[in-house]
């Protein structure tokens, strides 16, 4: 198994209340040290609720946000320069809001040309041929190229966004909530397109979403994020079916499923990011929390097989 992507203790801290001179007033740990491994050709699903740091993690992986600590390795080579162009050829990003990720004042052709020219130095006929090839791959008609972004529906705009990401010929695609702005009937079209492109272009996916069912449907492995830390990882079919971390259980129980009674509610909210608790960040909402949990942060450890959880009192499988 060759690794496509590996992060070692990747972390991000934001300064709050910056001053002109001197240290900031406070710091927020958006992402606590995260170590992930994604194999070639695998889809790793990342789930978490708003504020859990999943988008910050994604932005660090593509170089849009310089990490505060830690390392990113792509296919065995360390990447630590915050130069998006260097990242761009290896790893690309598909945005959540399809229409706002396209410059309203440029035609689709201009948008598609940029990565090909800048990252691969393509010109002339080769450029046109490659654009036609990419548009064909995402099932869009070539006459769309001379239109402006506002003329497209969300699903079409997201295909354009995917085609643009593919134009860089990356090895890895980060999909940040790629279907959450789309209607369900269009969502399925885009998910199926992504599945086909993965085989066709031999890609590795990081699929970020808050929708558990969507993540489960597309992923090989899933990592659950809570308050900036990975609390559980494991094979997609096991994580929600047999969760080991109480938070994962809460998530799975909360997801609305036809025929299941309303439930999973529970109480509580995310801790204050400016004043995080000393121990496990989920302890205040957790029915199994003990003094140990409130004292020290649990490490991610192996439960069964390929399933890991950061919990002192894991649930039974």
């Amino acid at each position: 198994m060759t690794l496509a992507l590996k992060t070692t203790d990747l972390a991000k801290t934001f300064d709050i209340g910056k001053r002109l001179i001197g240290p900031p007033r406070a710091q927020v740990h958006a992402v606590h040290p995260v170590s992930l491994e994604v194999a070639q050709g695998e889809t790793l699903g990342i789930v978490g609720e708003s504020g859990c740091g999943k988008s910050t993690l994604a932005r660090m992986l593509v170089g849009l946000e310089p990490p505060s600590a830690g390392q990113i390795e792509i296919e065995g080579r360390a990447l630590d320069r915050a130069d998006p162009a260097a990242f761009g050829r290896l790893i690309q990003y598909v945005f959540q809001h399809p229409v706002s990720s396209l410059n309203p004042r440029k035609t689709i052709r201009q948008i598609m040309e940029t990565p090909l020219r800048r990252l691969h130095g393509m010109r002339g006929a080769a450029l046109d041929a490659r654009i036609a090839e990419l548009f064909d791959a995402v099932n869009l008609r070539p006459e769309f190229l001379d239109r402006y972004p506002h003329e497209f529906s969300g699903g079409q705009a997201q295909r354009i966004g995917i085609a643009r990401a593919l134009a860089a010929s990356p090895r890895i695609l980060i999909l940040d909530e790629p279907v959450s702005a789309l209607d369900v009937s269009v969502q399925a079209q885009v998910l199926n397109l992504l599945a086909r492109l993965k085989d066709e272009f031999n890609l590795t996916y990081l699929f970020i979403s808050h929708d558990l069912a969507v993540v489960e449907a597309v992923s090989d492995r899933i990592a659950v994020l809570y308050f900036g830390s990975v609390v559980e990882t494991g094979p997609a079919e096991r994580v929600f079916a047999a969760p080991r971390h109480p938070y994962t259980r809460l998530l799975a129980d909360s997801a609305p499923v036809v025929g299941k009674p309303l439930g999973g509610a529970g109480h509580g909210e995310l801790p204050d990011p400016l004043n995080p608790p000393p121990g496990c960040t989920f302890a205040s909402r957790c029915p199994r929390a003990s003094d140990q949990c409130r004292g020290a942060v649990p490490e991610l450890r192996r439960m069964t097989g390929d399933q890991f959880a950061a919990c002192y009192h894991p649930l039974d499988p």
Partner: protein, 620 residues
């Protein structure tokens, strides 16, 4: 471009301004070719000639110089200086603003504090200081006016740039390998050009005035050269004895500034996308009603929506957002209304209480009866008395429905006291009780919190508390959990379900999520293209959908626990409601469609379960 001109001239005043300014600019351009006296030729014998005197149409000034000639030459100069100053200030200000807004952080901080310092001086004082350093002269006055106006542009453009710099397409450009300079020039600048043009067009008049002001004080154009300000300055001593020497340049300044401002306002309206679509028109207090016939009353449901038709009429286009929708709601019942975006579910909900914005919304048919009383076309006072009192709404985004500047307690108290004349103290007590009812911890403390101090889930609880404030019979919840996280969504759904059982509330629950409908609703109605295509008891519809659209929509939705798989997608897009096909709106995407599906009206048939399909999956 032609669209721009049409929009510009739609505004009569702007058109008038454009014509006046056009004439003035034309005259100024033609001045060297016109048969005029030389502007600086003095003739002391002809001092202070009145207007319309022989050879001097507008008379002469204190040195006997021809006023018409001086006026036109002066106008030429004033216009040139004004435009040049606006251009310099606009370009320099925009450059500073773009840099500060794009790079942010320390660059932004240092630059903008410098700009703030520039702004701290009264502009005329600053201009005087600059001229004092550089020495009097028209060019120096121009520089002074331009510098004084740079902060206005810089601040304006910075604000716009900050908004653009954080848009996703800028990130996309970085990932596509573009450097900062290229991103600034090709991604940011094209998006701020309209703002710069708007800002310039509304400030040129101001700049002409300022230049005239400096010249009036003798710091601008130097004698004998004429510009409008210096003409006024020279005429000041003869204001009483020869008023025409002041009036002539004064009227010209008035005409220029007025026409520039009128035109500038017109340009702003035409370029601003929000104003372009007519957002300046204030919506009416209740949706406009224009229906030919009222369907006869029937049934005894609490809320009976009968053949409701709501349209949006924009120019010549008619968007049939809601097309003969019939729904009914009994006390204590929860009805789910499910559909994709654009299916008309929200417009249906808003039509009930006449909350669809008019213009462009019009209710063109049907009736909405609350306990037998028709709400469509009811007087505004009646609607107002019922809104919130008997029928309350919960909306999707609580951050935008709560007023950001008022404490949540005050907003709740206002909602209570609109309908009931209770004392402030009593209302406050009830507000705390309401917050407790929606399970907000520490309600007594939270009552004085501002909306931004609460999390999304807590804000939505406040939204629900506000809907409950007057103990309504019906709650219309428009995607109340879509913006929330799953764990919070589960909490809110449980809360709504509990309130329904405890208070006997009827809920019309609008959503796109089958899972939510399945857990909360007794009955469900599925909408597509502005029509109800299927309705019935929730479990029956979800277990055995009768309409092909319902079946395939359910198949699209991944369900937790089903494992990794390829989803069944529906090819194509939902129809645009201004171009609905004849027959079944779903026919173009349906694999069972026959020729008969694409003609005529297809009725909703059945008793408890109804379906609008000629070839249903199961018999209704």
């Amino acid at each position: 471009m032609s669209l721009f001109l049409r929009l510009l001239f739609r505004n009569r005043l702007a058109g008038f301004g454009a014509v006046v300014l056009g004439v003035i600019v034309l005259l100024a351009l033609l001045t060297p070719l016109l048969p005029l006296h030389p502007p600086n030729e003095t003739s002391t014998a002809n001092r202070y000639l009145r207007p319309l005197s022989d050879g001097h149409l507008l008379g002469t000034d204190h040195l006997g110089r021809d006023l018409l000639s001086r006026l036109l030459w002066g106008t030429r100069l004033s216009l040139a200086v004004g435009f040049a100053a606006a251009l310099i200030a606009g370009l320099a200000g925009a450059a500073i603003g773009v840099m500060a807004g794009y790079f942010g952080g320390r660059t932004d901080n240092v630059t903008m504090r410098g700009i703030d310092m520039l702004m701290a001086f009264p502009y005329i004082l600053l201009a005087l200081a600059i001229v004092a350093v550089l020495g009097p002269g028209l060019l120096n006055a121009l520089i002074a006016v331009a510098v004084v106006n740079i902060p206005f542009f810089a601040r304006n453009i910075r604000g716009v740039t900050v908004g653009i710099a954080h848009r996703e397409f800028i990130d996309a450009a970085r990932l596509a390998g573009m450097g900062h300079a290229r991103i600034l020039l090709t991604e940011v600048v094209p998006n701020i050009v309209p703002v710069v043009v708007i800002a310039m067009s509304t400030t040129i008049g101001w700049m002409i005035l300022e230049t005239a002001g400096l010249s009036f004080l003798g710091l601008g154009s130097q004698p004998p050269q004429a510009d409008l300000g210096s003409m006024l300055g020279e005429a000041r001593s003869a204001l009483i004895t020869a008023p025409h020497t002041s009036i002539v340049p004064g009227v010209m300044i008035l005409l220029i500034v007025m026409s520039v401002n009128l035109l500038g306002d017109g340009i702003r309206d035409a370029l601003d996308p929000r104003l372009r679509s007519g957002a300046l028109a204030r919506p009416m207090a209740a949706t406009r009603v224009d229906r030919r016939e009222v369907p006869p009353a029937k049934g005894e449901a609490l809320l009976d929506i009968d053949a409701l038709e709501t349209q949006f009429q924009v120019g010549k286009r008619v968007y049939k957002a809601v097309n003969k929708v019939s729904l009914d709601l009994k006390p204590g019942e929860c009805l789910g209304l499910i559909g994709e975006s654009g299916s008309g579910k929200s417009v249906t909900a808003l039509s009930v209480m006449g909350l669809v914005a008019s213009p462009p919304g019009v209710i063109t048919g049907g009736a909405v009866r609350l306990d037998g009383q028709d709400l469509i076309g009811a007087p505004y006072e009646v609607l107002r008395a019922l809104r919130g009192r008997r029928v309350a709404y919960i909306f999707q985004d609580p951050l935008s429905t709560l007023h950001p500047l008022y404490r949540i307690g005050d907003q709740l108290i206002e909602a209570i006291r609109v309908h009931e004349p209770v004392s402030q103290a009593e209302a406050h007590k009830r507000a705390v009780k309401l917050l407790e009812d929606v399970q907000i911890p520490n309600a007594a403390g939270r009552v004085s919190a501002f909306p931004h101090e609460l999390s999304g889930g807590m804000r939505q609880r406040v939204g629900i508390a506000m809907a409950l404030a007057n103990d309504p019979d019906i709650i219309i919840a428009d995607e109340p959990t879509t913006a929330l996280d799953v764990t919070v969504q589960a909490q809110i759904l449980a809360l709504l379900d509990e309130l329904r059982q405890r208070r006997g509330l009827a809920i019309l629950f609008i959503t796109h999520d089958f899972g939510v409908v399945g857990q909360l609703c007794d009955r469900v109605a599925v909408m597509y293209g502005g029509r109800i295509v299927e309705t019935g008891p929730t479990r029956a519809v979800l277990d055995a959908p009768a309409h092909p659209y319902t079946r395939r929509l359910i198949a699209c939705v991944p369900e937790l626990g089903a494992g990794r798989r390829i989803l069944a997608a529906i090819p194509g897009l939902p129809p645009a409601v201004d171009q609905l096909p004849e027959g079944c709106a779903f026919a173009p995407r349906c694999d069972k469609a026959q020729a008969s599906c694409k003609t005529g009206e297809i009725d909703l048939t059945g008793t408890t379960r109804k379906v609008r399909c000629l070839f249903p999956e199961v018999a209704p």
